[in-house]
């Protein structure tokens, strides 16, 4: 919404003139069915064709497949149509499949809540630091921070596999010596509660269930193994988001910063009241990307833990793969993928609504 649409008397006149101008311009404006538009269609057709063949059709097919009982082996549309049975199994019937799905949602929820804020914050701080005029060796640091993002996620995962062993580098640096991170299935909230003496679930948490999982299990927090993967992912993605932030920072006019400096604002005040507000569109963008990416985490799970230990790193994306290609339940896998799509949609919409630009409405 631009200020031109504000219904003040003055602007109203402006708007009328604008509309008139638009109308008079109509024939020349990009109409998609005139000669120019046709050439446009021809030029975009290869890309459009690619989108349709490799995105739209597969997405549509996976929705259709999720309504069938397909094992993944026979031609998909020869299988039996079962309506919403797969969704009922995942959401409403009390069974092992729903429990697995609930476990994967819990794991991934903690994963998202941990990774997204941390990676966004670190990336922003790094970008601000790198954007300082007086910093030397800027391009070295930029490359260094970006490096993990361009390294194969499988290679990085394998290195972390070694680092997080009992006698690995991480434990050598920490005062705690005997944690084997990647095989430890204990939830960290449970662990923290254990430190303050709450070892057993209180009765109301033990006895109340949501989607076949007791409230106590929902409240476990990410497992130690999942925490290791969260650290890994944060480390690899920070570089990408830092670059996006850097690009955003370079759009902030130097004069604004200088004005704030002249007004006597401290570094923190400039960061908090100038940089962050001006970076808001970029922050929204980075958080959206972060949410979408973290709900789809797969590579690292596949390479490091295969969903274990004790299903504590199971995620919906991994469960889709497992049910489709390991367990011969491709329709169930497709249904999980469709549900994951709606979860990501919901989270992104919620995030954009929470961070909407209240000043400009």
């Amino acid at each position: 919404m631009t200020t031109a649409t504000k219904p003040t008397a003055e602007a109203g006149g402006l708007r009328a003139r604008l509309r008139k101008l638009q109308q008079s311009n109509q024939p020349q404006r990009a109409q998609i069915f005139n000669r120019e538009g046709l050439w446009g269609w021809i030029f975009v057709s290869p890309a459009l064709l690619g989108m349709i063949v490799f995105l739209a059709i597969p997405i549509g097919m996976s929705v259709l497949v999720s309504l069938r009982d397909w094992g993944g082996i026979t031609p998909p549309f020869e299988s039996e149509f079962v309506g919403a049975d797969n969704y009922r199994e995942l959401l409403f019937d009390d069974n092992i499949r729903r429990k697995d799905f609930a476990i994967s949602l819990r794991n991934n929820l903690y994963y998202v809540l941990g990774v997204v804020p941390v990676q966004t914050f670190i990336a922003l701080i790094l970008a601000v630091v790198l954007n300082q005029k007086r910093l030397k060796g800027k391009s070295f640091f930029r490359t260094a921070y970006y490096f993990p993002s361009i390294t194969s996620s499988i290679a990085v995962s394998l290195i972390f596999l070694f680092m997080f062993q009992t006698r690995g580098a991480v434990n050598a640096l920490l005062p705690i010596q005997d944690i084997n991170w990647l095989v430890n299935p204990n939830g960290i909230i449970h662990n923290l509660l254990g430190v303050v003496g709450v070892d057993e679930a209180p009765g109301w948490m033990e006895n109340n269930e949501f989607m076949s999982l007791s409230l106590w299990e929902w409240a476990s927090g990410p497992s130690v193994a999942m925490l290791s993967i969260m650290i890994l992912v944060t480390w690899t993605t920070v570089g990408t988001f830092m670059l996006i932030f850097l690009a955003g920072l370079q759009n902030i006019p130097v004069s604004v910063e200088e004005a704030a400096e002249l007004d006597g604002a401290s570094w923190w005040q400039r960061f908090r009241f100038v940089t962050v507000p001006m970076m808001k569109p970029t922050i929204v963008f980075v958080i959206s990307l972060g949410l979408i990416g973290t709900w789809q985490v797969f590579d690292q799970i596949f390479a490091i833990s295969f969903g274990g230990p004790q299903k504590s790193t199971l995620t919906p994306a991994f469960l889709t793969y497992f049910q489709t290609f390991q367990n011969g339940e491709a329709s169930l896998g497709a249904a999980i993928a469709v549900l994951l799509f709606f979860i990501i949609m919901a989270f992104t919409v919620l995030q954009r609504w929470l961070m909407r630009d209240k000043d400009r409405l």
């Binding site: 000669r35 082996i73 026979t74 092992i96 367990n327 011969g328």
Partner: protein, 443 residues
């Protein structure tokens, strides 16, 4: 304007031509393939005349007798990529088949095999012959993707271990001949055993004693993967399993299972057994090789691994100790399957016969630690690998590693619960209840 539409039409026509040309590419390839194939046989004949082996002539005669015309037959053999040595061995075996028969078969190892095979089957265009893991067989059979073994295409099928044929038999129909197999054995450190003045354990009681005696500050007595594929053998030795033999009901709610699981839980609690992850290793082979464990329960493949990674490590292999109900073991095996909608079923089965016949099986397993699936080839293999006889002996009483289609999740439930059992988080009865509940959901 007319001119303009003409141009558009011309452009569309050009697109159509390109598309047609692309589509036609395959046909061309096949045609040229066929035509080159047509010129192939004379060349091969020449080559054969040059090499002129009595055996080859016999085989050729046999193929002709079977009435399968293999000359120029293009056959795709799909498998997963394993070690470079195995890939080379199978490739050269296939090359031998080609030069013997004039066929044009190729071995194509697939990265992400399950995904690739599933996609090709779903698309209705599967490879001619492909590996089928015993665990995957029920899914493939359930969807009608596999052709049963036709009568008479395989020489002397009774020579194949019956326990292995059973693995690939569902409801009385035999689907594919095993490529090779592996079983579990008790791999131990003979030096440590001698130093402690102990005998090789042959019963559960002895295993517990030896494991405790071999446990020191920086070594556990025994370490094996905390999963069904290892711990399941203890269930067999107690006369039970997760599911009944026909796979229609849960069998784990039994005294035998309670006894086996309690026996294992006590060993972990006493500290003489640990899972490889708990002693900072990836699997049983690494735990044993690195010296972090004095014994492990692993399959034949550990031999090659130890030779490569820990060449100085002394080891010996014994049969798994007996439980209260005698011996039990897993047969891990893979077969050569032929798709039910194969384009050239006769030629495909001829390739399978070549690879799994007594000579083929012996040639394939020579120099490897996988065992030939034929009893007649066992003696020759043992002559090459005398120290591995315990693995061959296991074949006599080995059980399949397989769940019916759609019930595979129960294995994950067992593994999950077993890991909590050995960590002391749950009791044996709680484990059994979880598995039974999952079975009720899935069966």
């Amino acid at each position: 304007m007319k001119n303009y539409w003409m141009r558009i039409a011309a452009l569309l026509f050009a697109f159509a031509l390109i598309a047609a040309a692309c589509g036609g590419g395959d046909d061309d390839a096949t045609e040229s393939g066929e035509s080159s194939a047509a010129t192939d046989p004379p060349e091969t004949d020449e080559a054969m005349e040059e090499e002129e082996g009595a055996m080859e002539e016999e085989e050729e005669a046999m193929e002709e007798a079977a009435g399968v015309d293999l000359a120029g037959a293009e056959l795709q053999l799909w498998g997963w990529a394993s070690s470079a040595a195995e890939d080379t061995q199978l490739t050269s075996l296939v090359a031998q088949f080609n030069s013997d028969t004039g066929a044009d078969a190729t071995f194509e190892p697939q990265p992400e095999y399950d995904v690739a095979l599933q996609a090709s089957l779903a698309a209705g265009d599967p490879p001619d012959v492909f590996y089928v893991d015993s665990g995957k067989l029920p899914d493939l059979v359930d969807s009608g993707a596999l052709a049963p073994v036709p009568d008479g295409v395989l020489s002397d099928p009774d020579d194949i271990y019956s326990s292995l044929r059973d693995v690939f038999t569902i409801d009385g129909t035999w689907y594919c001949p095993p490529k090779d197999f592996s079983t579990l054995g008790l791999v131990y450190d003979p030096v440590a055993l001698t130093e402690a003045g102990l005998e090789v354990p042959t019963t559960w009681e002895e295993l517990a004693t030896v494991a405790a005696a071999l446990t020191t500050a920086d070594r556990v007595g025994l370490s094996f993967g905390a999963e069904y594929a290892r711990a399941g053998s203890f269930l067999f030795q107690a006369g039970t399993d997760i599911l009944t033999a026909d796979g229609t009901a849960v069998a784990i709610d039994s005294d035998g299972a309670r006894q086996a699981l309690q026996y294992l839980a006590d060993l972990y609690a006493a500290g003489s057994v640990a899972s490889p992850g708990d002693i900072d290793t990836g699997w049983g082979g690494e735990a044993f090789g690195s010296g972090a464990a004095a014994m492990t329960i692993e399959g034949n493949w550990i031999v090659g691994f130890l030779g490569n990674e820990f060449p100085d490590r002394d080891f010996a292999v014994a049969e798994l100790p007996q439980g209260p109900q005698g011996q039990g073991n897993f047969a891990f095996t893979v077969c050569y399957g032929v798709a039910s909608n194969a384009e050239n079923p006769e030629q495909s089965w001829a390739l399978v016969e070549y690879l799994t016949s007594a000579e083929g099986a012996a040639a394939w397993t020579s120099g490897f630690q996988v065992m030939p699936a034929r009893e007649s080839a066992a003696a020759g293999w043992l002559a090459d690998n005398p120290e591995l006889s315990a693995f061959v002996d296991g074949a006599a009483y080995a059980s399949r590693f397989q769940f019916p289609s759609g019930v595979g999740d129960i294995q994950g439930v067992f593994d999950d619960a077993y890991q909590r059992l050995i960590a002391g988080d749950i009791t044996v009865d709680e484990l059994i209840k979880e598995v039974v509940d999952a079975g009720d959901d899935l069966l």
